[in-house]
Symmetry: C2
Subunit: 347 residues, 2 copies
Amino acid sequence: MATPGSGVDGPSDSPTLGHIREAAARLAGVAVRTPIVTNAALDALVGASVLVKPECLQRVGAFKFRGAYNALARLRESGETRGVLAYSSGNHAQAIALAASMLAIQAVIVMPSDAPRTKLARTREYLQAAPPGSEVVVYDRSVESREALGARLADERGLTIIPPYDHPDVIAGQGTAALELIDDAGPLDALFVCVGGGGLISGCAVAAASLSPGCRVIGVEPEAGDDATRSFRSGVLQTIENPRTICDGARTPYLGRYTFPLIRRYVADMITVSDAQVAAAMAWGIDRLKLLLEPTGALGLAGLFETARTNPASIAGKRVGVVLSGGNVDLDALPDLLAMAAPDPQS
Amino acid sequence: MATPGSGVDGPSDSPTLGHIREAAARLAGVAVRTPIVTNAALDALVGASVLVKPECLQRVGAFKFRGAYNALARLRESGETRGVLAYSSGNHAQAIALAASMLAIQAVIVMPSDAPRTKLARTREYLQAAPPGSEVVVYDRSVESREALGARLADERGLTIIPPYDHPDVIAGQGTAALELIDDAGPLDALFVCVGGGGLISGCAVAAASLSPGCRVIGVEPEAGDDATRSFRSGVLQTIENPRTICDGARTPYLGRYTFPLIRRYVADMITVSDAQVAAAMAWGIDRLKLLLEPTGALGLAGLFETARTNPASIAGKRVGVVLSGGNVDLDALPDLLAMAAPDPQS
């Protein structure tokens, strides 16, 4: 784990526990305070006491609502009257669309043409209640950069960009997931969190560092998109364009200006899992936890299973949190996804 | 609603709120206190404030664990040392198997050969930790009566029969679902509960009658197996053998000696829904609530949708509870089940 003074502290407005508590106050009564789910079969399988935070039960079906609403609510508080622009593989898009409609802020959402149908359809649905000028703009991931397209549209239309992860208010909002988990379940020995651009794990790691100082926060990434793991290990930002993985929420090409330093400072370790392991964890989670998970939503569970297999002593008898980040998967895509599963969720 | 004195009060040892509170004490720390799930899209769809009690998150994936554990724990307390016998289409079987292994009581479980594979496999799995002599006995629903077979085996082997619903300790255990829901969410205006043999709704209706006196408890049955609805309306016990419905947990042929009087006395109304409506509610619940539901587990939601369609004023703006009773469905059977869905969950 990097320590203060290692030159990776990040921007001066990097989020703190105070910002996460402010975000929690904004989200009270607006976001779902997702329950803690426990499961005796899971405990027996991994040899630990597992506390599951099912963000698939969050509004829009993913943790992303926390950060999106917090960022837009802060814009509202600051008297900012321009609309917003967001680019996203799906869940941030839905989250911004819903938050914008709730706060009556115009929103333009840039989404890849191959985003899951459900995510495209729901984003359009949420935007129906947003102010005029709100729309989804679809682009082709293979020919355009969403950042470039987003920047151009924001400039033309006078919109404020709310990036999907690299923004202090977004990170602070995501951190409320760990804040609630530790508030409700008590201190943890370890916490498994998926990593795409690192917004969720950054916020959760900042919260855990203060509220449960002994907690080892472990990031879990798909092995085809292991840029964050390699960045974490080398200390130098690594990039992967369009990684081929079923985890559509973790195809982000690199960590951010805020998230990379926070991860280096507050995350204990990073691990990777194969798509077959992700599919097996999805199947296990749906079949046994009875929670619908999208591939990225099962990354934390896949990481827990991988750890139980390769390093069981590190979690044996301990209190282990797992954030299941989302459940937005097309039901008709489910059989093919589950068919990719490794035969044993721990293999 | 039948009133006291209408001649339908049932046996003198019929469960009361006191028995349900005793059951809750036995289940504390043993059963999952399932969370309350809320969903803004559901509220918008039906025009009410909906409090969902997801018993798919219960141990063994269904509410049945509550009643089974309560009944076996009472046997243990009474010093009863014989083993137990249970017959069940699946969830009661798993529940007795798990409770028996936890309490070290021998258990013989009689199950139909066409029970969902998952339910058969899990029952055998749970029994592995139960005392010697414990086993699953499979029978053919088309040629044998489970009651007759169960009675014969119990007699031969000296076992105490724990029926799946018509038993005061089982009913009291099931009633803890409503006890928790009302404790956690406050008084309700209505509560939708599935009806097979009536154990869950009987216990829930007894709890609601005391804890939330204005709450109208509504039973929901598959229309192909509408014996309880016709019994409720006519006041005379009606029977249906082997009804053809996807709701394998609600193929029970008749209400019981305990459950029929309790339903007549404490349940406000009964409605029926088609299998297509059940499948649509399952699909909606999985897709939007992100909870895996078996067909019977979606009956309460299907009943809520049916009520929103045919009698919206009865729930408009009200606080409505829905018990989702279980989530034990074979994942490879899911596509065919969901394909049966009516196009609109409210149609």
